[in-house]
Symmetry: C2
Subunit: 208 residues, 2 copies
Amino acid sequence: MLPPGEPKWRRRAADRPKEIIAAALEVFSEHGFTRARLDDIARAAGVSKGALYLYFETKQDLFKAVVQDAIEPRLLKIRTGAGTEIPFDEAARLGVGVLVSAIQSNPRIGGVLKLIVAESRNLPELALIWHQTVITPLLSLISDIIRRGQRSGEVRSGDPELFAMGLLGPLVLGLLWRETFEPIGADPLPLETLASQHLDTVLKGMKA
Amino acid sequence: MLPPGEPKWRRRAADRPKEIIAAALEVFSEHGFTRARLDDIARAAGVSKGALYLYFETKQDLFKAVVQDAIEPRLLKIRTGAGTEIPFDEAARLGVGVLVSAIQSNPRIGGVLKLIVAESRNLPELALIWHQTVITPLLSLISDIIRRGQRSGEVRSGDPELFAMGLLGPLVLGLLWRETFEPIGADPLPLETLASQHLDTVLKGMKA
DNA sequence: TCCTAATAACTGATCAGTCGGTTATTAGCG
DNA sequence: CGCTAATAACCGACTGATCAGTTATTAGGA
């Protein structure tokens, strides 16, 4: 009756959390927070629902872990190379380049972005974390570069934060476009082309 | 026991649908599709839940009505003044101006935008409608203006659709910013200033 | 008096979170 | 080394709450 061969499951406490987070990212970014079922996440992680609760207190807890795991490591890379004293144009191109390649290499980042927007009302605490740890640093990094360009006379006057949003906006739009309309059958968006053409435009338009 | 004075309710079949749609917009844009409760919508509309089903078949049906009601009338206004043969700069400023004032005069439009992004996976049919009736016409309108500018030699070469996204991206970002971060306590975003500064930048950057 | 807008109590399905029980793994002991 | 006791990882059936959608009934209006 009981075949000895393979055990029904294995104890792998060290690997479970990251496996669960990966599975949860998949399910959350497909269905959103509320419609994502813990049973589905558990199945995708190859684990029972009960096991989720060994590693995460609640569904929200798991969701937070997913978002933080997706974001925090990438932020470090962007910060690198901020303090350097290269010409404005170059710095801007470099920064956007890092952003675009981060996006390209991790296609899930669009899903995470969508999640933040979609669930900010339900999980304000999470929106706060995201705002403090990602948005604010990123924006101030870019607007610092712009400010520097203004002081050196390379960039015309204007609110640096708004310039930064003018720079990033189309990237955000592109990401959300992919998440929203490509699954519906819309033409795929050449994000890299968009980024480079827009960068050319904005840099030219910001010249003093 | 029963005081004669005011009746407990009145029959107002003509007014109910729009009242329900207004209430539903409120609740949907605060909680998203799934977490919005029909009981809450009904209460906000001053009506019982059962009454909703006299006017809408399902929750999705109601949701579709909300989105279409919010969008379609505004699209007409934007289309107006498209065919005119004014200089490129002027046309672009006019178009963006109309967009911004539409946004300002109807603060709920950001909520609708968020809903589309958030629920596109759950309600692909809706994303399709939105894509066909709003996004595509709007984008092609703007890129037509740009194409015209290119033909007349006012605008440098480049993909007109991507130029259009470069123009609109920051507006979308601004709208979502409001929806996502202002409720959390972030600084309010001066959307109009953003739009005008960005327009200046992009127009300058697109010059031939 | 009759039609129907509208109500309010109800049903059934779904799902987050719990808990008693089970199995893999490790440590202790001879 | 083997054998066994102890432990921690894991399972999955269950519970209680929530809500979309239904229906029996009431009451407004012509």
